[in-house]
Amino acid sequence: MLETLNINLTAILPEILLTALALCVMALDLIMRRGASRLVLGYLSIIGLLIILPVSCVSVIDGAFYGGMVKADGFSAYFNAIFIIAAIFTILISMDYLKRVNINKGEYYYIVLFATLGMMVMAASNDLVNLYVGLELMALSFYVLVAIRTASSKSVEAALKYFVLGALSSGVLLYGISFTYGVAGTTNFTEIAFQARRVTILDPYLLLAIVFIIVGFSFKIALFPFHLWSPDTYEGAPTPIAALLSVGSKAAAFAAFMRVFLVALPVYQPHWSRIFWGLSAATMLYGSVVAISQKNIVRMLAYSSIAHAGIIMIGFLVTSDMGAAGVMYYLLVYAFMNIGAFTVVTLFIRSSGRGESIRDYRGLAVRHPWLAFVMSIFLVSLAGIPPTGGFTAKFFILSSAINAQYYWLAVIGVVSTAISLFFYAKVIFYMYLSEPDALTEGTAGGAAGGADRDLPIMSSATCNIVLVAAAVGTVLLGIYPTPFIDMAIKAVKPFFLT
């Protein structure tokens, strides 16, 4: 029972515009003189994204299009907003970062746009094949972006690891998709759900398919034990790209999870939620515990990001509109607070490698009170302390777990949050209560030595825009969450109607 090929250009207007934008930037890059600064491409991308953001928010149309492959509902609009905000922030901080590490490549910008496009396709897809295409577009873009510092072997190493393991996970995912097709005879979510409701017993091959799909996406979300790439990759990748990876690609994979499991396979909830239960609990504990012993701030944020993914997972696996809306809200908050924290980290990074150690943050409040202040906001929010968005988001997720009677998971979530406070507070402690370490200041800079004592932190206008916007967003979402959570609840309502 194939649906008619329902063509509607408005439904995919944001995607069309983004493709056009990316191609435009690409063409310009080719036309431009070799040595000319590519910053203008960054500005062009930002302006374009700023136009696409409202377009994607309003182009919400009922129904499925293009043979039931694409949806343009409130759900995809909400995720699109997260992706586009993350992309804008990333490009803004990249412009400053690229200048500092002496990279003048136009492809950086349009590949970020392509990655964003991949995420948007994932969130909007209503079909496994379409989903896979989006995923690969995103993943391939990221492989390139992680490796963009070709002069740095660390960057190349990170990209290689990410690529090989990513290919493995893609293979597993494809395997799962083909099993699904084999059992259900279709890759369309709506039709899979229809088939599943007819046959109530779970086919063991379908169970296998479910496991493979879970593992395939768990890699992108960096759930334990499929997280191994992420600390290495975050560390080796350009820091803004690490920010986009931790926010955008995770959000996209969560969107995919929600589409696949809440729309296509809700019938088998008892089966898949058990697997997610274990993954979530292990990930939360592992991420927050291992983060404690990290000395490098990017690695710490990588493990923190793993722990956050575990907590977000709770909201998804309880299968309630409250929980699903909590996931979306959490990802929105996470985009603000995590990119905010990464922005401060980016400002620290020098080509000499200095500024990556948590110890370098000692006495920051004295030297750069503004950076220390916003960093504290982000860390407090990541730790889930009111009145920040991080608190409200955790609150929604954990209360949905309690409502759905997942008490143990809620307890583990609270415990992991409590543990995480330790390493977030450590950075705040260093910034405000420790004296700047004269030794590290002088020696770690190596040859540059005293000359660039205060150089690492040249706050640029673009970074300040991101810092202000992210801080305002983080606090605003903390004290006035109602409209955003309402939007999310409205967006996921259709998933729970049947």
Binding site: S153, K154, E157, L160, K161, V164, L165, L168, S169, V172, P204, L207, L208, I210, V211, F212, I214, V215, F219, P225, F226, L228, W229, H271, R274, I275, G278, L279, Y286, V289, V290, I292, S293, I419, F422, Y480, T482
Partner: protein, 680 residues
């Protein structure tokens, strides 16, 4: 005009933000200008709002404005909104009007302070919270303001935090207020909890007042008493008044604004606002009135023997607040709020006057070292005396009308004991106030030569607010004079707010007029005469003691030293403020400190041991997992590589096939999940 109401608190808030963030980099002139301009703006909007309310028909004078929904959870809705009615407009008039004058005065008073910008940021912030408190349309917004003014009070008392006594006083105010607020919060919770069990899930005043019939008398008595506990903290009533005298450590304009004119009256406002609740709980009303009048008398007796110019005013404030509580406790809300207003004028005036004196004396606050200041500072002296006449209840000054109304209400309602205590307080008030006037402004100057040479009148920026406040203190009583048979202008304006309370307590002026005006008119005149006589008596006795031209007529036993010697124990008791602070220290503070010491040792010995143990275990666990990551996962093939140092480790690990390990773990994870899924 109503649409602009949100600007009234937001303007001072903007001022606070600008001065707080950028003030340190701006010249003092700009800081002062910004602070005063936002206040002027707020005052102008408040005035037009006031006129607007006056122009509306009486039954339309209560307007609810909702700005946005802050929290919406199920049936529970929490809006940020204002209730604009005669009571709140009168309050914002007082807050912005007196506040503006005090801001202007402060520009002169604080001009040499290095924390100038900090001072104005706090002061503006205070006004913001105070306006939220009185404008708020539901309990939560009121509570926000209630806590906010407490915070600002704490910040401003301890403004000169380098001084230990100042930071201690700030702490004391904070802690004592917390005790009161604890009761207040309990009261709010109980109110909300009781109402929500009847399906009322709103904290709006109007909704709450409309659904009070759900609550039984016992519960409402408990609620109102708990709320009153909050009021005793904020408004310095027995037994929580102890912080206010210490609060005089703050800059003098702060004492005028926060600790005389506005914040300390928040408790009176709160009870007046909740008149519907108190009307249903007669016992609470009695308690409020009795506590109020006892405080009034108690503080007045302490005021008799204080020598610090600001301490006298502080105890007098406690005493006058007692009057207000006596009034609202008796259900005479209009009289209480009326006295609140006149008190803001004359006490604000006297505090600013004392600030002017202290300014001239180079920081000296001991009245025994003053004297004869009238010669040097005529404006300060005349305006201060006007304030003193007002507080002493001399006609036609404002204090006469409002105090007289409270006493009359007490008498008319049959509370003769309260009336008598109030009368006695009035007598004492007149006495200690004029003791202060005579000691400060008349006679020979007792200051040292250096100070005497520097005596000067304060600059215009300080004297002009004094003059304006003096005019208000003199003429502010006009709204309380019975022009009409059906009651005074103040009654006329405020009574609709108190209708719910009024029906039960039968307090409005109109009601009085119905019961045979002639008899009451006569009685009222006699009582007026009695209270004026008491005031005159007080002034005269003070004059005999402290005013040189009168001193010579005094009998030989009527000298301060002689009296003090004759009643030595009483004098010592009063001088030491009934030893209440010492008693609190002994009964409460020290045992708590001892308990804290004990807890500390328990904490250090046992809890820390447990916590450290837990932390140690966690760290061990983290360490183990970390090692798991490094050795088992990374180092299966080449564990030696990890030992060769952090940097080289990166490259080695890549070459030693770390990636394969990752892939291996990946596949193992996959197999475990497949296995468990198929088996489970």
């Amino acid at each position: 005009m109503i649409e602009l109401a949100w600007l009234i608190p937001m303007l001072p808030f903007t001022g606070a933000v600008i001065n707080g963030f950028f003030g340190s980099r701006m010249p003092k002139k700009t800081v002062g200008l910004i602070a005063c301009l936002v206040m002027a703006g707020a005052f102008i909007i408040s005035s037009s709002l006031f006129i607007k309310i006056l122009s509306l028909p009486v039954d339309q004078r209560s307007i609810e404005v909702t700005y946005f929904t802050w929290i919406a959870s199920g049936a529970f809705h929490l809006d940020i909104g204002f209730l604009i009615d005669p009571l709140s407009t009168l309050m914002i008039m007082v807050v912005t009007g007196v506040g503006l004058l005090i801001h202007i005065y402060s520009v002169g008073y604080m001009h040499e302070d290095k924390g100038f910008w900090r001072y104005f940021a706090y002061l503006n912030l205070f006004v913001f919270f105070m306006l939220m408190l009185v404008l708020g349309g539901n309990y939560l917004v009121m509570f926000l303001g209630w806590e906010g003014v407490g915070l600002c009070s704490f910040l401003l008392i301890g403004f000169w935090y380098e001084k230990k006594s100042a930071s201690d006083a700030g702490k004391k105010a904070f802690v004592v207020n917390r005790i009161g607020d604890f009761g207040f919060v309990l009261g709010l919770f109980l109110l909300f909890w009781t109402l929500s069990s009847h399906g009322v899930t709103s904290l709006d005043y109007k909704t709450v007042f409309a659904s009070l019939h759900h609550i039984d008398t016992a519960t409402i008595t408990v609620i109102t008493l708990l709320l009153f506990v909050g009021a005793t903290g904020k408004s310095a009533q027995l037994p929580l008044y102890v912080w206010l005298p210490d609060a005089m450590e703050g800059p003098t304009p702060v004492s005028a604004l926060i600790h005389a004119a506005t914040m300390v009256t928040a408790g009176v406002y709160m009870i007046a606002r909740n008149n519907a609740l108190y009307a249903m709980a007669p016992i609470s009303g009695e308690v409020v009135a009795v506590v109020g009048i006892c405080t009034a008398l108690f503080a007045a007796t302490i005021g008799l023997v204080q020598n610090d110019i600001k301490k006298v005013l502080a105890y007098s404030t406690v005493s006058q607040l007692g009057y207000m509580f006596a009034a609202v406790g008796l259900g005479a809300y209009t009289a209480g709020v009326f006295h609140l207003m006149t008190h803001a004028f004359f006490k604000g005036l006297m505090f600013l006057g004392s600030g002017s004196v202290i300014h001239a004396m180079g920081g000296e606050q001991d009245m025994r070292k003053m004297g004869g200041l009238h010669k040097h500072m005529k404006i300060t002296s005349v305006t201060f005396i006007i304030g003193a006449l007002a507080i002493a209840g001399m006609p036609p000054f404002s204090g006469f009308w409002s105090k007289d109304e409270i006493l009359w209400e007490a008498f008319e309602k049959g509370h003769t004991i309260i009336w008598a205590m109030g009368l006695l307080t009035a007598f004492l008030t007149a006495f200690y106030m004029f003791r202060q006037v005579f000691m400060t402004f008349t006679g020979e100057c007792r200051a040292d030569r250096h100070t005497q040479e520097h005596l000067h009148e304060s600059p215009k920026i300080m004297t002009v607010p004094l003059i304006i406040l003096a005019i208000l203190a003199a003429a502010g009583g006009i709204v309380g004079i019975s022009f009409f048979e059906e009651g005074t202008a103040a009654h006329h304006f405020l009574s609709p707010v108190f209708e719910q309370g009024g029906h039960a307590a039968a307090n409005v002026g109109g009601h009085v007029a119905q019961n045979g005006e002639a008899l009451h008119g006569g009685m009222e005149a006699i009582l007026m005469a009695v209270s004026v006589a008491a005031g005159l008596c007080g002034i005269f006795l003070a004059g005999l003691l402290y005013y040189a031209p009168l001193k010579k007529y005094a009998p030989s036993f009527w000298r301060p030293e002689v009296i003090a010697a004759a009643f030595k124990p009483v004098y010592a008791l009063l001088y030491n403020k009934y030893y209440v602070d010492e008693m609190y220290d002994h009964i409460i503070v020290n045992p708590i400190k001892r308990f804290c010491g004990w807890c500390l040792s328990f904490d250090l010995g046992i809890i820390d041991g447990i916590v450290n143990g837990a932390a140690w275990t966690t760290r061990l666990w983290a360490w183990l997992l970390h090692k798991f990551d490094i050795y088992i996962i990374d180092g299966v093939i080449n564990s030696a590589a990890t030992f060769t140092g952090y940097n080289s480790g990166f490259w080695r690990r890549l070459q030693t096939g770390r990636l394969q390990n990752y892939a291996l773990i990946f596949v193992i994870g996959l197999l475990i999940i497949v296995g468990s899924a198929l088996l489970g």
